[in-house]
């Protein structure tokens, strides 16, 4: 029993982290159909910028904000200068963004070196919450809370505001959206920035939990992609359910079948796609 509760908790908190990473990615996919191999780099660079900020200031919320804003700016540059011209050209997108991912990987290595770091979390987030014989690390609870708040805000914005309606319209049919006078170009740029912003938030938050280290970018990227395709591109609900599924499958897989752990993650995902190629909540 203890095992199951602990593993489920760990899975859910990892799923929460994945939602931060993949929620924005899903909107980007849904709206622009852009395959962005740089998304893992946003996560990694966000973590590194956060690390530097916290070393200089010692202030955790500032680290999250600074990391996220810096990466959002990088994302907007990349989108404006290269990606928006490649709409509909999947191969071009994959190769261009892969080029950026390699460049960012090397720049991070030059600036921050090859050692792994942990971002020191504030005192109020350390320690564990005890219920009976079970311990729940406060930091993991914090991640779940952050993801829940982000999910709620995104949902409110998408469903209850004018901008959200424009975004949904652009996901559904960009051409019609443009036709009724929505500035699709601006909306796309905002969503791209938002995706990069959230990926960097995930990177800083993850820095206090799994750490910041070279290679984290390509390690987490496939997870983000799998969350998005299984949930369905452009669907927030899909991204949430996909994140939890991937988080839980990953944790239980690693705990129960260590030798087959990636198989137990990716094979069910492939099976879902075999039945529903557009994901659980996606539309073709």
């Amino acid at each position: 029993m203890e095992f199951w509760v602990t593993q489920a908790f760990n899975g859910i908190s990892y799923g929460a982290l994945l939602f931060l990473l993949a929620g924005g990615l899903s909107l980007i996919f849904g709206m622009m159909r852009i395959v962005n191999m740089t998304h893992g780099s946003y996560y990694l660079l966000g973590g590194y910028v956060g690390l530097t900020v916290i070393r200089q200031t010692g202030y955790f919320p500032l680290a999250i904000l600074a990391g996220a804003l810096a990466i959002a700016i990088i994302g907007v540059f990349e989108w404006n200068a290269f990606l928006k011209r490649l709409s509909g050209q999947e191969l071009g997108q994959v190769l261009t963004t892969m080029g950026f991912a390699l460049i960012f990987q090397d720049l991070a290595l030059i600036i921050w070196g090859g050692d792994p770091y942990t971002i020191p979390a504030p005192a109020m987030l350390s320690g564990a919450h005890r219920i009976g014989d079970l311990y729940f690390p406060i930091y993991r609870i914090f991640i779940i809370v952050v993801a829940a708040v982000v999910a709620l805000i995104l949902w409110l914005v998408l469903e209850k505001t004018r901008v959200g309606a424009m975004m949904r319209a652009t996901v559904d049919d960009p051409e019609m959206a443009r036709g009724v006078g929505i500035n699709v170009h601006l909306i796309s740029m905002v969503v791209f920035a938002l995706g990069a912003f959230l990926a960097a938030v995930a990177g800083v938050v993850a820095g206090g939990f799994v750490g910041v280290y070279p290679g984290a970018d390509f390690e987490i990227l496939p997870y983000a992609f799998v969350v998005v395709i299984v949930g369905g591109m452009g669907s927030l609900k899909g991204a949430l359910i996909g994140s939890l599924m991937v988080g839980l499958l990953d944790n239980f897989g690693k705990a129960l079948f260590p030798e087959l752990s990636y198989f137990t993650l990716f094979a069910p995902m492939a099976a879902i796609l075999a039945v529903r190629p557009t994901g659980l909540y996606g539309r073709a």
Binding site: V35, E90, L91, M98, F218, F225, I229, F266
Partner: protein, 332 residues
């Protein structure tokens, strides 16, 4: 006009063939191993070209088949001392089998979805190589894979004989793939790339053609992997990770999709670049990253595509002078 162009191509092909055949004694052993590596990656890139270039489906998981071929050799040769006569069919057949299973899942999708599904499928195979330690030795990889003994008078553990061995593999793969893409089957794949709905309306079984193309690509990917394991003497999860799949995409895109020769050329350029640049600087990832971006910005159709466009730009004058139509020149 058409005739001279045709024989011009033949002359170029003959010169390349002669250079590949005659160059080993004049090359340093470092360059020779790089050339061997380029030939093997050339097979991998040509195999991807069948689905990417000829069928128009970009796969993000092609390294999986390369890895399956390589790991088949690694496991069979080091554990059971299996000979080349066993490892070659085993590696290729296993790659074909996995492609036959994966194809049923992946080909339900197109475009971005196809990319993402092939990525997830590729990760399954990578995950096994990475975590199934009792079988694959995990991240340590399988080392000390002996070079094959074909009972020839020359030992394949020497670099020159192994080069000719790889060259033979390359030429066989090139010849078979060329026959395939020039066959009615291959032409149907091109038709599907250009307009799937039109081919369907004409009564072609589109799915089956794509599926067979996908499986063929997987099989030749496995063949390249078999040669790679023998060349390198070592296989590890790096051989089938996501970055490797993307690198093969780059090789195909850089050389020129849908031409077989282009991807082989792209493979050669990337292999040489990676290895030569890393001799001079540790910052080769920056340069490789720039190559990715510059390829898409300046040569989206690849090197062969750019050459073709230049020759086409000259064409209108030729039409004027000789009074030939576009079709006559194309048909040559």
């Amino acid at each position: 006009m058409g005739l001279t162009r045709f024989s011009g191509q033949q002359v170029v092909a003959a010169i390349i063939f002669f250079l590949l055949l005659a160059s080993p004694p004049f090359l340093s052993s470092f360059l020779l191993t790089l050339l061997t590596q380029a030939l093997i990656y050339g097979i991998l890139a040509m195999s991807l070209d069948i689905i990417l270039g000829y069928t128009g489906l970009a796969s993000l998981g092609h390294a999986a088949y390369f890895g399956i071929g390589a790991y088949s050799v690694g496991i069979l040769a080091t554990r059971y001392g299996a000979a080349f006569g066993i490892t070659l069919p085993a590696g290729v057949l296993l790659a074909v089998l996995v492609a036959a299973i994966f194809g049923t899942v992946a080909l339900r999708a197109t475009g971005v979805y196809f990319l993402m599904i092939t990525l997830a499928l590729g990760m399954i195979v990578w995950g096994l190589a990475h975590r199934w330690v009792t079988m694959t030795q995990g991240d340590n990889g399988i080392s000390a894979i002996p070079r094959p003994d074909l009972g020839l008078p020359w030992s394949l553990s020497l670099s020159i004989p192994f080069y000719y061995f790889a060259l033979a593999g390359f030429l066989i793969a090139f010849w078979i793939l060329r026959v395939i893409v020039r066959s009615p089957f291959g032409q149907t794949l091109v038709g599907i790339r250009e307009s799937e709905s039109r081919m369907r309306t004409l009564g072609y079984h589109v799915w089956l053609h794509k599926y067979i193309g996908f499986v063929i690509a997987g099989g030749f990917g496995g063949f390249a992997g078999v040669l790679w394991a023998y060349y390198n003497g070592f296989v590890s999860p790096v051989d089938l990770q996501l970055a490797t799949s993307v690198e093969v995409l780059l090789m195909v895109a850089l050389g020129g999709r849908g031409s077989l020769i282009g991807p082989a050329l792209g493979a050669g350029i990337i292999v040489l670049l990676k290895n030569l640049v890393s001799v001079y600087t540790h910052r080769w990832l920056l340069i490789l990253g720039a190559v990715y971006i510059l390829t898409i910005v300046y040569a989206p159709e690849g090197i062969l595509g750019a050459i073709k466009r230049r020759t086409k730009e000259v064409k209108p004058r030729a039409v004027g002078v000789h009074g030939l139509t576009e079709g006559e020149i194309e048909g040559g």
